[in-house]
Amino acid sequence: MFSISTLLDVVRIPPSMFGTSIKKAATNILKDKYESMINAELGYIIMILDAKVDEMGKMIAGDGGTFHKVEFEALTFYPKLQEIVQGEIVDITDFGAFVRIGPTDALLHLSQVMDDYLKSDVKSGMILANQSGRTLKVGSTLRARITAVSLGKAAAMGKIGITCRQPFLGADDWIAEEIKKSGGGSADAKEAKVEAS
């Protein structure tokens, strides 16, 4: 899920940046420090949006720079466990598919695609289901649930696992089929059915 996080930090403005405005200098330093970073608490830090810099800084003996308190906003993405996400397949492998779910890719393991016998054809970039004849290919959009998240130090880019083996998950056309099967499902449709009978 995407969030706007308000964070507090202290930035060191080097003497070489004393000529530029303090806000601009601090924003550039924060961008270099945080953008494209993965944090266990915040998730993926996508962009620094705004920074309020305390104009009164501190100096430390032996250091030419000034240290300023700064409160800033960042656009972040944290893959929450059990969250439903939409995604697009970007790669097919022997063991499943990689699905882009925002600033990162998640693994949809072959065993989590659907309740069927599956075959992965890496050459043609396709996953085929033997019984139902359903297919998944690069570029297909789908809906999935996040089942595993690892954003620790061990995983440089983070590791996310997703599943489509639950009702109303999977490729868009499978969901449309399922909704049709469940009779529209909406309250209005059910009321209409009751009235008709």
Partner: protein, 108 residues
């Protein structure tokens, strides 16, 4: 190291609105991936999304995160909605689910 003061969940259309203000040429890889992703999956305008989020939080007593999840996916049937809310691990009355569906329909 930073200290987190506040965290506010936002919907895909709000993310698109934020990233839309930045020149695509100046974006790094993660920003571009995110922009492509939100452009592909955003179906309502940010104003509508904000209003829908507020309404879901107020009328259905959902948390901000839950409301954003619904705004992003916008399920169209009761069974679909029930299967989504299953992951929240809290009891939601059928009346509340129907209220949620009405709000979703009102904004589509």
């Amino acid at each position: 190291m930073e200290e987190i003061k506040k965290k506010q969940s936002i919907s895909l259309s709000e993310v698109k609105e934020i990233l839309g203000k930045v020149d695509v040429e100046e974006m790094d890889q993660i920003q571009r991936w995110t922009y492509d992703y939100v452009s592909k999956f955003t179906k309502i305008d940010p104003k509508d999304a904000k209003e829908m989020k507020k309404q879901l939080m107020k009328d259905c007593e959902l948390t901000e995160e839950e409301a954003v999840e619904i705004v992003n996916i916008r399920p169209t049937s009761l069974a679909e909605l029930r299967s989504f809310t299953f992951g929240w691990k809290k009891l939601i009355l059928a009346e509340t689910l129907e209220k949620m569906l009405k709000i979703i329909k009102g904004h589509s």
